[in-house]
């Protein structure tokens, strides 16, 4: 009898496994557990079991009944879940259609570069300052040690408003205006538009510059190298190779041009770097004592450094843009890429 019982259990589970529809599940339940079911039938024959085996037989019958019930319940639940899922799936949408929230606008690429640079220098303790874009010749040139009739004026082709009023050719005059008002220590950054009388693939009559100035006691050329190297590595990556080489700016001495290993060719030489393997990125130098004299700073007590860079140039290198004029044509198809 016990063997018969066990065989019954195996048969029931096998049938359950093959069952797929709701009807089949119900039939299995009736076939085995119903009032006229097979298990019920065996139970009715309990009298034929010896007294010794009766307790065990009863226990096994119960177990089988419970287990069959549980298995059928589980199978039914699974079946129901599957059906729900199927119904939901049939109610599907095309997820590949584009999203239709209003598309965000884009920030102008040059402004993005400005934001990035300003936030790096903010972390070095630099504050942002501003000044007029239409500037006195004095602030744009004279105070920066570029006298009238000096060949250094050739370095910047100037737009004039009046004899002594110009469109600023760099943002350095802001530094002079600030130094006139504030005593060191000083860490300032002046971003803004500047103007030079020039127009071709690599020059526009207006472009953006950022200039920085740090003045304190004991500032030296090593500090200039340290800050500018840190900055350039943040902008162009930690592995950026740079070099400082002597140059000339009337308002700094010693002056340094800072080059980075060409980001396009890695130094092998290409069209972008003019085969030199290096890209000029920024001009810098220790503030010339003549400038300090003009703002009544004592150059024996204080020293400092200044630097300046063109934002379009950085953006061109970052994004692989070869024509600077694109920045000011404001073609929406260009601007949407950034």
């Amino acid at each position: 009898m016990i063997n018969e019982l066990q065989q019954l259990g195996k048969d029931a589970l096998a049938e359950l496994k093959d069952a797929k529809t709701l009807d089949q599940f119900q039939n299995i339940r009736t076939k085995y557990l119903g009032r006229k079911g097979l298990l019920t039938g065996i139970l009715r024959n309990i009298a034929k079991v010896s007294d010794d085996e009766k307790p065990l037989f009863g226990k096994l019958c119960n177990e089988l009944k419970n287990s069959l019930n549980a298995n059928i319940d589980e199978a039914l639940q699974k079946h129901a879940d599957l059906k729900n899922q199927q119904d939901l799936f049939n109610d599907k949408i095309d997820v590949t259609l584009p999203g239709n929230a209003i598309k965000c606008g884009r920030i102008h690429p040059v402004i993005q570069v400005r934001q990035e640079i300003c936030s790096i220098f903010a972390s070095y303790g630099f504050s942002i300052v501003e000044g007029p874009e239409i500037e006195l010749d004095y602030y744009n040139f004279e105070a920066l040690n570029i006298p009238q009739d000096h060949p250094a004026r050739d370095m910047q082709d100037t737009f004039y408003i009046e004899d002594n009023v110009v469109l600023r050719t760099h943002t350095s005059p802001v530094q002079v205006r600030i130094m006139e008002k504030i005593q060191p220590p000083l860490r300032i950054l002046s971003p803004g538009k500047v103007y030079r009388r020039d127009s071709d693939v690599s020059h526009t009559p207006m472009f953006h510059q950022i200039e920085g100035l740090l003045v304190d006691q004991g500032v030296n050329f090593g500090d200039l190298k340290g800050i500018l190297a840190s900055f350039l590595k943040k902008i162009f990556g930690e592995s950026t190779v740079l070099r400082f080489r002597p140059s000339f700016f009337p308002f700094t001495e010693p002056s340094a041009e800072v080059d980075i290993r060409c980001v396009m060719c890695g130094g092998k030489g290409c069209r972008v770097c003019g085969q030199s393997g290096w890209l000029e990125i920024l001009g810098s130098g220790m503030v010339d004592p003549a400038v300090f004299k003009n703002v009544n700073y004592d150059s024996e007590k204080y020293s400092g450094f200044a630097f300046g860079l063109g934002l379009e140039r950085i953006a061109m290198l970052k994004y692989g843009i070869s024509d600077i004029r694109l920045f000011f044509e404001n073609d929406i198809r260009f601007l949407k890429q950034f």
Binding site: L97, P98, N100, I102, K103, C104, G105, R106, I107, I111, Q115, S123, G125, S127, I128, E133, I134, L136, D149, H150, P151, A152, F159, E162, V165, L167, I182, P185, R187, Y195, T204, P205, M206, D216, G218, N220, F221, G222, D223, G226, I227, A229, F244, R245, P246, S247, F248, E253, P254, E257, G274, M286, D288, P289, S303, F328, N330, I332, L335, K336
Partner: protein, 803 residues
């Protein structure tokens, strides 16, 4: 400055490769921008000697020559007539390649065999001369490859000389640097003049009237010169330096200028009337024709070199046509002078003449090198032209040109300012290597006298720069200075700008940057009224073009122009904004006013590529965008007041934006007339706000949390039929002025015009929300307040409840 390495080696024995020299110069502040290789443009051309010349039997413009290369004799048919037996000439043998890629072949010309070609200078691209066969020096051995015989082939460095380094605008200056950088010795050319017995002082005189502009004028006389072409070696030097050859006299002066940096000028003495030189400023309206053949009215204060009667040169800039060296010139008066640098610069700019001489004079030449260069050039002219140099030279030197001596230098100061541990010994060596004279001046201090050619050095800092430049920037250790907090704050407006920028981006607007200058017709295109302050524009005196000649006074025109260009490109759905300045003229003597503006433009669809949308932007879209910004800036007291002041806006669809009774900007649709002028089809909406009027400390307004009521709100709707002119704000204000405690909110939920309501009226649907913070309102309580408010509206505005 083009530096031939072969020429450089005349003055310094440098064996380094061009790349290495370039690197050293670049890292010492003389940036080499390009390395050019000069190679002969021919091959298999040799030195030949003409054995015989006879006429071609048939063609009388041809000659038949026998030419030898030392081992073989060739028959060559030649078209030029300037040859004779015994001449040494370039012979392109069969198989030779000449410029242009032509290969010489054996041929028969008019029945005569020709096994080669005799070449002119220009055919070999050695020089410009194409008048006949090139004549080579008689001492060249036939058979030698021509490039070896003439020493053709060179490497030329294009050095970017910064405006302070006038001493490096010549070969000796560059050689001095190279010597210092490589540890080699300089070999300056030995200058010795073989003088005749005829004293220059007996033949001519120099009188400087304006010595402030010409502190020193020296001259020599060279007689019995024969003007002719320069020898090949000289031509090769000048070509490498990028200078055209003219004749042996002019070429000699140019050579010495390139070698020593002293510009020189050779006059044909026979044209100097009264046999004298007078140096003076130009007279009023004085006219002069310079060597380039151009005649000009000279600006005031132009320095002139004159003879006893008339000007013969613009001092330091260009010689005159009237005293130019000609083919039959026999006597040369050679000038070597020092001119006042700023004066040369002013004159050269006014005249628009940027000559090699002016370029050097305005940067400052070596005041003590004037005579040396005079002597060098005089002897060279004599050597090249067979002339003789007269005895003595004139040296009018009325104004001593100041030279700097004994500049104090402290070793400690170098260490402090640069951040290196350099020894005094190193400093002394570096400075001596570039020709400085040092005297000890106490412990760790020196008095330094630079060579007179270093006109850029007058202060201690100039010396420090020299030391560090040659010590090497790369040897200076980097240091990261400590960050300290300064008292200074960023400009508050910048934070505001960033907030606005973010809000604009979020609303779908893309940032543009236009030029700050534009066309003067913008004001007319926008129909600005005659008294509009935006007509007070600032003009650029030297613009790049008329369309970029005035500073903008509003950003609207730039936005419209940009929109127009984008629609031309097929982009019709545009939302753009710009932040920047506009400029307004102020009283004379004052800098113009600069205002920080934000302006935006929208046209076309709200979103350009939505597959299930299609609604166009309108006034309310742009207004909503501004409301978002103001909400973000915590500015809650902005008002939009209808007005009709902006002539370029639609009078019925525009308004002023007011803040605290101050007009901070405007918003509206572009006027149809303006749209027609700029030929724009779609409606365009714009706004412009002066950001300087926005409160600096926008974030100062504290947010105070309002407890959210636990009790439900009761909503009541009501629609009013009102005159179309009645503004929604007016309706709402009537309600708000009642200050009803239990009225939580009221807003417009519907606006309707058209069918079902009378002409000239509109229906305004208002939704009222009532709530108490501490209890649930009863229906009757709400009804009584609501009725009261409706009555008030009807009473004040004369509107009717819509059935």
């Amino acid at each position: 400055m083009l530096v031939s390495l072969k020429w450089l080696k005349d003055y310094v024995d440098v064996q380094l490769a061009a790349d290495d020299i370039s690197h050293k110069l670049t890292m010492a502040g003389l940036e080499v921008e390009e390395i050019k290789n000069i190679e002969p443009q021919f091959s298999h051309v040799v030195v030949g000697r003409i054995l015989s010349v006879r006429n071609h039997p048939v063609a009388d413009r041809l000659l038949l020559c026998e030419v030898t290369d030392g081992s073989q004799t060739y028959n060559v048919v030649c078209g030029a007539k300037n040859i004779a037996a015994g001449d040494i000439v370039p012979l392109a043998k069969v198989g030779a390649v000449i410029p242009g890629g032509y290969t010489i072949k054996s041929s028969v010309i008019q029945g005569e065999k020709s096994d080669g070609m005799l070449c002119s200078e220009s055919e070999l691209e050695i020089g410009d001369d194409e008048s006949g066969i090139m004549h080579l020096p008689a001492d060249l051995t036939p058979g030698m490859p021509l490039e070896t015989a003439l020493d053709i082939g060179d490497t030329v460095l294009d050095v970017n000389v910064t405006p302070n380094r006038s001493d490096c605008l010549n070969m000796i200056g560059i050689a001095r640097e190279v010597a210092a950088l490589t540890g080699k010795k300089m070999k300056p050319p030995a200058v010795k003049v073989k003088e005749s017995s005829e004293d220059i002082n007996a033949l001519t005189s120099v009188n400087i009237i304006d010595s402030d502009l010409c502190p020193r004028y020296t001259a020599r006389m060279i007689k019995k010169v024969k003007v002719g072409p320069s020898p090949v070696w000289l031509k090769i030097r000048l070509e490498a330096a990028g200078m055209r050859t003219i004749n042996n006299i002019v070429d000699a002066t140019n050579f010495v200028m390139l070698e020593m940096g002293q510009p020189l000028h050779a006059f044909d003495f026979r044209f100097l009337e009264k046999e004298k030189i007078i140096v003076r400023k130009s007279r009023d309206q004085e006219e002069f024709t310079s060597l380039d053949g151009k005649s000009r009215i000279l600006p005031a204060e132009t320095l002139l070199i004159c003879d006893g009667i008339k000007p013969v040169a613009i001092g330091g800039i260009m010689g005159g046509l009237n005293s130019e060296v000609k083919e039959d010139t026999e006597t040369i008066l050679l000038e070597s002078a020092y001119f006042n640098p700023p004066s040369i610069r002013r004159s050269a700019r006014k005249l628009g003449m940027s000559t090699d001489a002016a370029f050097r004079f305005e940067r400052g030449i070596d005041p003590e090198g004037v005579v040396n260069a005079l002597n060098r050039a005089a002897q060279l002219i004599a050597d090249l032209s067979g002339g003789t140099v007269g005895k003595n030279y004139i040296d009018e030197y009325p104004n001593k040109i100041p030279v700097v001596r004994d500049i104090p230098l402290r070793i400690d100061r170098i260490r402090e300012l640069i951040g290196i541990e350099i020894t005094a010994k190193e400093v002394v060596k570096i400075l001596r290597d570039i020709g400085m004279n040092l005297k000890q001046n106490g412990k760790g201090a020196y008095l330094v006298t630079p060579p007179t050619c270093r006109v850029d050095i007058s202060r201690e800092i100039d010396l420090i720069e020299e030391v560090i430049r040659l010590y090497g920037y790369d040897r200076v250790p980097s240091n990261m200075p400590d960050v300290f907090i300064t008292e200074m704050e960023d400009i508050p407006r910048l934070k505001l700008e960033e907030k606005i920028r973010k809000a604009m981006i979020g609303n779908g607007y893309t940032e543009i940057v236009n030029y700050s200058f534009g066309t003067p017709v913008a004001a007319d295109m926008l129909c600005l009224r005659e008294n509009d302050e935006r007509r007070r524009s600032v003009k650029i005196t030297n613009p790049l073009g008329e369309d970029l000649s005035v500073m903008r006074t509003t950003m609207i025109y730039g936005l419209l122009d940009t929109a127009k260009r984008n629609t031309n490109n097929g982009c019709f759905d545009l939302k753009m904004f710009e932040m920047g300045r506009v400029f307004l003229k102020r009283a004379k003597g004052e800098l113009p006013e600069e205002r920080n503006m934000i302006a935006g433009l929208a046209t076309g669809k709200i979103s350009d590529d939505l597959w299930n949308a299609g609604k166009n932007v309108d006034f309310y879209h742009l207004k909503g965008c501004l409301e978002n910004i103001f909400f973000d800036l915590k500015i809650d007291h902005c008002k939009y007041i209808p007005e009709n002041t902006e002539s370029f806006l639609h009078p019925g669809k525009s308004c002023a934006i007011m803040m605290n009774d101050k007009r901070i900007g405007f918003l509206g649709e572009i006027h149809p007339d303006v749209m027609e002028r700029i030929d724009f089809k779609n409606n365009v909406y714009v706004f412009e706000i002066n950001m300087d009027y926005l409160p600096d400390k926008y974030a100062d307004k504290k947010i105070i949390y309002q407890e959210i009521s636990k009790f439900p709100a009761v909503m009541r709707d009501a629609a009013f039929v009102v005159s179309v002119d009645l503004e929604a704000d007016r309706m709402l204000n009537v309600i708000l002025e009642e200050n009803e405690d239990l009225l939580e909110n009221v807003y417009v939920f519907d606006v309707y015009k058209g069918k079902g309501i009378p002409e000239g009226t509109k229906s305004l649907g208002l939704r009222f929300s009532y709530r108490a913070s501490s209890r649930t309102l009863t229906d009757s309580e709400v009804s009584s307040i609501h009725e009261k408010l409706l009555q008030k509206i009807i009473e004040v505005t004369g509107s009717k409840i819509r059935a």
